[in-house]
């Protein structure tokens, strides 16, 4: 560990600090959602080229759900490995649009089709709506893989932050239910434990992009009184991790969620799951969506995506072991 903030990440934190202290900005889901949409326009990776981006509306548990499919420039017409992607945002904010740049970058660097899922958000739809949608979308994409140009045997689930929670939980639930078959899980700065406060959450509670007060506010809206030890809220609390898909877990050195990401990597590893774990030095939470402001994020996403593509192309068919 360098213990030195990337200088561009530090600039972002300085800008956040310069904007703190006002009394006019009330913390509401709508205000935060709008702020994140505007921020995304200023900091994301819009310039990354892909062959196509297609929105598709499917019938879902709640009536309808949008899936956004990214096709990489390489071999756009072939059957490719696929990645079901869940954006982060505490389960309360962010959208397909705020994570558009990240999905483009991952499609380009992995050579896989990325399908981003517009799951339902709290407080309108608290837990377990997001998890239900995540599992439904994964099953739907697996069932319609050929139609989407995806090799069903080479399907990953991925997500960042609270989307990483969904990805991790989908793997646990799918394993238990005997499907859908997931070949790989990719977790970027995942939230894995809302039941306790890790050392990094305490140490980096203020001034590191996402404040403890914001996390607590969002947690209350998302969980809405549910048991925080429920493994569908805190996947780290699951006592049954054996047989889960191979995992690629990324954390950032100056991220409050760093320790729980590492703890999940350790727990999976102890359960015999094949895990690769990287803590990205000097970086902050959400760095992967701010490549327009943090150039190193763009560099980091190249090997992150390449590792996804490599793992999926090498994936042997996974037997389904119902528990």
């Amino acid at each position: 560990m360098t213990h030195v903030l990337d200088r561009h990440a530090k600039r972002v934190l300085d800008m956040l600090a310069a904007g703190r202290g006002g009394n006019g900005a009330e913390l509401t889901p709508r205000a935060l959602r709008e702020s994140m949409e505007r921020l995304a326009k200023a900091v994301d990776l819009r310039s990354v080229a892909v062959a196509s981006v297609d929105d598709r509306r499917i019938r879902s548990l709640a009536g309808g759900m949008t899936l956004r499919a990214y096709t990489p420039l390489t071999a756009p017409n072939e059957l490719l490995p696929g990645v079901v992607f869940f954006h982060g945002g505490t389960g309360v904010f962010c959208s397909l649009d705020t994570h558009d740049g990240l999905c483009r970058a991952l499609a380009a660097s992995s050579g896989c089709r990325i399908v981003s899922v517009d799951y339902r958000l709290a407080p309108e739809h608290p837990f377990p709506a997001a998890i239900d949608d995540g599992l439904f979308a994964t099953q739907w994409i697996a069932d319609h893989a050929a139609e989407l140009g995806i090799d069903r045997e080479r399907l990953a689930v991925a997500g960042d932050s609270a989307g990483g929670t969904i990805a991790a939980v989908v793997c646990q639930l799918a394993q238990r239910a005997g499907g859908p078959r997931v070949a790989l899980q990719v977790l970027l700065c995942p939230v894995t434990d809302l039941a306790s406060e890790s050392p990094s959450r305490a140490e980096l509670a203020t001034g590191f992009f996402i404040e403890r007060s914001t996390l607590e506010w969002a947690k209350a809206l998302y969980c809405a009184g549910a048991d925080l030890y429920d493994p569908r809220i805190s996947p780290l609390r699951s006592t049954d991790l054996v047989g889960l898909p191979p995992a690629q877990i990324h954390t950032a050195e100056f991220d409050p969620m760093r320790d729980e990401g590492q703890a999940y990597a350790d727990a999976l590893s102890a359960a015999g799951v094949d895990v690769s774990y990287v803590c990205h030095e000097g970086l902050i939470h959400h760095f992967y969506c701010m490549a327009g402001a943090i150039p190193r994020a763009r560099e980091v996403l190249v090997p992150v995506g390449a590792a996804i593509g490599d793992a999926l192309r090498a994936a042997p068919p996974r037997p389904i072991v119902a528990q």
């Binding site: 200088r7 530090k10 600039r11 972002v12 300085d14 800008m15 956040l16 600090a17 310069a18 904007g19 703190r20 202290g21 006002g22 009394n23 006019g24 900005a25 009330e26 205000a31 935060l32 702020s35 994140m36 505007r38 921020l39 326009k41 200023a42 900091v43 327009g292 402001a293």
Partner: protein
């Protein structure tokens, strides 16, 4: 500057000297605003200048942009 604010940060007219944070600009909006100012005027705000006083109001930001443009 008013246009940047309207597009990127606050969706109502703001007086040039009004405190933007009191007008509803969140800290996330401040990041968006600083990056937008940098992109719009093709400049980089020096680290030392990223402080609340320089971004308190439209007037303050205009003054900062002028001073960076003169310096560069």
């Amino acid at each position: 500057m008013q246009r940047l604010l309207a597009e990127r940060s606050i969706d109502r007219p703001v007086h040039p000297d009004e405190d933007l944070r009191e007008a509803g600009l969140s800290s996330l909006d401040m990041v968006t605003l600083v990056l937008s100012v940098e992109a719009e005027f093709d400049l980089m705000v020096p680290e030392i200048a990223i402080m609340p006083a320089n971004f308190r109001s439209v007037t303050a930001i205009s003054r900062l942009v002028d001073s960076i443009q003169r310096g560069g």
